[in-house]
């Protein structure tokens, strides 16, 4: 009991002392501290209220936008159908000045309307071909979307660059392959691979681009290239052996995987030198390919390929 009484006394004495001692917040006056705290409290609560308001407002705007978008989509769908039939009725593609018959000022200038119109054009382009497709492309160009897409390619945001590229690929504009070549050097993986896909699908010279590819190829990029190659309607399988000369090990590994995947037996002579590579991962991948083509461990050894430690 004595201990607690003494401790309590001590606390009281300390209380007396500590009131004279500077606290950690002593560098700032109490008034200023309180003012700062008031500001922070009001600030945090205000931001929280604004966030809640924004959430609710955003919902209202989204609902409204969805309604407007639905009306616009239906309008533009009809308009595009009419434009595509124009060529059959008039025997020629419409002139730029004739556009005002179909589109009002708001359709041509208001960003939201333009966004919906562009979405509709892109959507329709996916489902048409031949003359109808060229009418759409023409319409796309006349409305200045192509110019905007090219501008997008220079954006700081990878997402915008991708959008621009995607648009140009889909619309099959006159945009030349050099744009795609340029975009294969983009900083963002998804933009690069979209450009590579475009090169492959449009019959561009994709192999030299891939040989000089400076970035490591991720499995995603490999999958995308493989997918594009499968979709490209070619009678002959592409020759992957030039890729084996790349200085980029991931490109070589990809080529080996493709040789394995497409059973390109003709590529075997080009694969053999890789068994002597200084990169163990490449030796392993090359060995896998050789084994798939029926070369067993003994054959690999007897071929004096200096891969004893691997087989």
């Amino acid at each position: 009991m004595d201990f607690f009484i003494q401790a309590h006394d001590a606390m009281k004495r300390v209380a007396g002392t500590s009131q004279k001692v500077q606290h950690i917040t002593a560098f700032i006056s109490e008034e200023k501290l309180k003012y700062g705290l008031y500001c922070c409290i009001v600030g945090f609560l205000s931001v929280a209220s604004v966030i809640l308001f924004m959430i609710l407002l955003r919902r209202t705007i989204l609902i409204k936008q969805a309604k407007t978008a639905k009306i616009l989509r239906s309008k533009y769908e009809t308009l595009l159908a009419e434009l595509m039939s124009y060529i059959y009725e008039n025997g020629k593609i419409f002139e730029k000045k004739e556009l005002s018959v179909y589109l009002n000022h708001e359709d041509k200038t208001r960003p939201f309307n333009r966004k919906i119109l562009l979405e509709q054009i892109l959507l329709m382009k996916k489902h048409v071909s031949g003359e109808e497709a060229s009418v759409l492309t023409n319409f796309y160009k006349k409305l200045g979307f192509e110019r905007e897409a090219v501008k997008k390619l220079k954006s700081w945001s990878w997402y915008v660059r991708f959008e621009g590229l995607d648009e140009l690929i889909l619309m099959e504009t006159t945009a030349i392959n050099s744009i795609f070549h340029h975009m294969t050097k983009d900083k963002h993986q998804l933009v690069r691979v979209a450009a590579l896909r475009a090169l492959i699908l449009r019959g561009g010279d994709w192999q030299p681009t891939l040989i000089r590819y400076n970035y490591p190829l991720s499995p995603w990029e490999q999958y995308q290239i493989c997918d594009a190659l499968s979709k490209k309607q070619a009678i002959q399988l592409p020759d992957f052996t030039p890729l084996l000369k790349s200085l980029n090990p991931t490109v070589i590994k990809f080529a080996l995987k493709m040789i394995q995947y497409f059973h390109s037996f003709d590529a075997v002579p080009s694969v053999i030198p890789l068994l002597k590579s200084e990169n163990p991962a490449l030796v392993e991948a090359a060995t896998e390919v050789m084994k798939q083509f029926g070369m067993d461990d003994e054959e690999l050894v007897s071929a004096d390929l200096e891969v004893f430690e691997l087989v």
Partner: protein, 483 residues
């Protein structure tokens, strides 16, 4: 003499405590602000990428890794049939589902055998990871269920059951799934994306967001409509999950500092998991322990690697609906955290382990383990300064309000990130309900959480308790009551 020594001791104690709490609180505030920034960036980047990538092509791609879904089941008779059906209907080509019945005492085995027409197979069990004996391996006679492997084993705990699944698996990756969870149909397509876009580093694990289904509408093992739960206890857990999964883990993953992938939803590289000995069954925090061990081993090997994260709700589960069960869950989480921190204390402020040793581990130590203890201790300290008459009440009240305001701001921000990213709660009323829940949390719910954590510490250090609590489920097919 006595007086001066005691006076000095009390004086320095008060001064030191003030200083410590001040800087501690400052660090915690800074960490939350950084989490807000990194997570928003991470979520938006992920969302943008997912908008443009076509994942469907992966269904037939030779580049997509193979996956074994390992689902340990213990007394899951109530939901097992629906949940297995949900696992079998995932959109991914190269996967199998391995359900491991961990010696359930209920009708889990009988129900599954009957529902899926299973028959016992002759099977050579290669015990790469040591486990309790396997009683039998079952496969379905019905070709429609050819992806299902059912394993019946002697009870050995969740970690042991998962290790059995890993032993049986032949895939590149295994996914650890709680059998009582519902997965999004595209969950694996989305989870393998971080593995595939990584060009150089070895992706050793991928986590995903786990979200709560309480009072949501579920039909045939699939989620139909997400609702904010009716009860406060479930609603506040929704807020906690949004904060933890959407903000916290996304931010940590962005820095490759993620220490915990939820046991309910994780994808792990099988080869590495076997090399490092699989799940540790000596701890109740086996999910966190595995990730920490992966980090540790990879850092020691000096091999470039990544623990990735898909910040999207891919897995849905039912949160505890009573405080009693919730307290047991939180008690277990606390014990698991302490266990993992203790097992890997070598990494604590060890520069050899990079961001894990210098940032992630210390954050878990100070921010996750120590925080509730300090809060609890803070109450005592507050009592002492009241007795000493040192309290400047106006300032103290302002400080409390400051903390409250920050808590409201942070949780509302989490709600906002959820809104702009995944928009799971479509009803306006749900948003208001969640916001009101946030307002009450610091007074009503948070003290309970602190108490459960303190109790977890007591159980760990004093009672030496290391077991699992019981989790009673109401079943996903319970229809949500009208609000």
């Amino acid at each position: 003499m006595w007086n001066s020594v005691i006076d000095k001791a009390i004086f320095y104690f008060v001064q030191f405590t003030e200083l410590f709490i001040f800087f501690y609180a400052l660090l915690i505030f800074i960490s939350y602000i950084l989490q807000s920034i990194f997570s928003a960036e991470g979520v938006m980047k992920y969302k943008r990428e997912m908008e443009i990538v076509d994942l469907d092509g992966l269904l037939s791609s030779p580049f997509a890794p193979s996956i074994s879904v390992v689902a340990p089941a213990y007394n899951e008779g109530l939901n097992i049939v629906d949940n297995v059906r949900s696992l079998l209907s995932l959109r991914y080509a190269n996967y199998v589902v391995i359900v491991v019945n961990d010696g359930s005492k209920d009708d889990t085995l009988d129900k599954t055998v009957k529902a899926y027409d299973l028959e016992k197979m002759d099977f050579v069990y290669d015990m790469k990871l040591e486990t309790k004996p396997v009683r039998g391996v079952y496969k379905s006679r019905n070709p429609a269920y050819h992806k299902l492997i059912f394993v019946d084993k002697v009870n050995g705990g969740k970690a042991d059951a998962i290790n059995v699944g890993v032993n049986i698996s032949q895939a590149d990756y295994f996914a650890c799934i709680d059998v009582d969870c519902i997965l999004e149909a595209d969950a694996f397509l989305k989870m393998v994306k971080p593995i595939m876009v990584e060009p150089e580093k070895r992706v050793v694990a991928v986590g995903g967001i786990v979200w709560l289904t309480n009072d949501s509408e579920i039909e045939g093992g699939m989620l139909k409509q997400v609702n904010a739960p009716r009860t406060y206890i479930a609603r506040i857990q929704v807020i906690e999950y949004i904060r933890a999964f959407l903000l916290g883990r996304t931010a940590w993953a962005a820095q490759n500092g993620l220490l915990l992938i939820s046991g309910a939803m994780g994808l792990f590289e099988r080869k590495l998991s076997i090399e490092i000995g699989g799940y540790n069954h000596k701890t109740v925090g086996e999910d966190m322990e595995l990730v920490m061990r992966m980090h540790r081993v990879m850092r020691e090997r000096k091999e470039p690697y990544l623990v990735a994260y898909a910040p999207e709700p891919l897995c849905w589960t039912e949160g505890p609906s009573s405080y009693n069960i919730l307290s047991k869950q939180r008690n277990r989480w606390t014990r698991g955290t302490i266990d993992c921190l203790k097992m890997h204390k070598k990494m604590f402020f060890n520069p050899k382990y990079g961001i894990i040793g210098m940032v992630s581990y210390p954050y878990w130590f100070f921010g996750e383990w120590l925080a509730p203890l300090l809060e609890f201790f803070g109450l005592f300290f507050f009592a002492i300064v009241i007795i000493l008459g040192l309290v400047n009440w106006e300032l103290a009240l302002l400080l409390m309000l400051f903390v409250y305001a920050f808590a409201i701001f942070f949780s509302t921000y989490a709600l906002f990130v959820q809104e702009i990213s995944y928009f799971k709660y479509e009803s306006r009323r749900d948003v208001i309900k969640l916001f009101l829940t946030i307002l009450v949390e610091p007074f009503y719910y948070h003290p309970k959480v602190v108490w459960w954590a303190v109790k977890g510490n007591y159980d760990f250090f004093i009672k030496k308790s290391h077991g699992w609590g019981e989790m009673v489920r109401t079943g996903f097919n319970t229809p949500p009551k009208k609000p």
